[in-house]
């Protein structure tokens, strides 16, 4: 790439805009990345939902087999993680709806919305799973 002597077909080195590793992490930047990551996680996690629904529609035996996977320590962790990803993506999305109306662009408000979405998603995930642990919703 650095060799310019070849002439034809060689791309000229152009200055690149600074990227992630240049900036110190700001909370709105973190939640922006988290929004995309939770979106991607939810995307692949739909396999589990389709699997669960298919199992319920197949037979009691197969449903019990699938349920036993979700009942494991890892299965529970994935479901708690999925709950948080969904709620974080939802609160992050609500923030975007506000921005779509042209409101909420003060730097201070942006920070508050970022921290707020994180706080709400963690608290709500905690409350839901606490309710589940205490005997279900």
């Amino acid at each position: 790439m650095g060799d310019t002597s070849a002439g034809q077909g060689v791309r000229r080195e152009r200055p690149l805009s600074p990227h992630l590793q240049i900036y110190s992490p700001l909370i709105n930047m973190v939640t922006s990345i988290v929004h995309r990551m939770t979106g991607a996680a939810l995307y692949f996690g739909t396999v589990l939902l389709a699997w669960w629904l298919t199992a319920a529609a197949t037979s009691p035996d197969y449903f019990n087999y699938v349920s036993s996977w979700f009942a494991t320590w890892a299965g529970q962790a994935v479901m708690i993680g999925y709950t948080w990803a969904l709620l974080q993506h939802m609160f992050g999305g609500l923030r975007h709806f506000l921005w779509d109306t042209g409101r909420g662009y003060d730097l201070k408000v942006i920070d508050q919305l970022s921290w707020g979405s994180l706080a709400l998603s963690f608290v709500m995930t905690g409350l839901i799973w606490l309710a589940v642990a205490r005997g279900g919703l």
Binding site: G39, L49, A56, F63, T83, L86, M90, F97, I128
Partner: protein, 126 residues
């Protein structure tokens, strides 16, 4: 030298020929998903540890089936659009981009069809 400005290709539906279609569908399904996502969390959380007969009866309830079908359709449309944006942002090779965009559609369609089929099978008496 041409006197045409870039505005020429940006008129009406723009150079991509679909205008704000992607943006708007992402918002509409996003708004729907706020409600449908909360419904899904409640549905699954309330059925944790339940036996097959209970789960089957709950999912076969017409209101539950309809809400679940809406969740599946709105959710898979939304996630397909979102993943499309991720692919377009990070994949630079044109061939690879086209392949991944196709796989994205296939994946979303597979999840949607498998889930819808399961819900309908339960509703119509599996």
């Amino acid at each position: 030298m041409t006197m045409r400005t870039p505005l020429k290709t940006a008129r009406n539906l723009g150079s991509a020929k679909d205008g704000t279609d992607h943006f708007w569908k992402q918002r509409v399904t996003g708004v729907a998903n706020v409600f449908l996502g909360l419904f899904l969390v409640w549905l699954i959380a309330s059925l944790l540890g339940a036996d097959h007969a209970t789960v089957k009866a709950r999912l076969a309830n017409p209101l539950m089936s309809l809400a679940l079908l809406a969740t599946i359709v709105s959710g898979t449309v939304h996630m397909r659009l979102g993943m499309q944006t991720i692919i377009e942002d990070y994949v630079n090779g044109e061939a690879m981009k086209i392949v991944l965009l196709m796989l994205n559609t296939f994946f979303a369609a597979l999840i949607a069809l498998a889930s819808i089929f399961a819900v309908l099978k339960l509703s119509f008496g599996a």
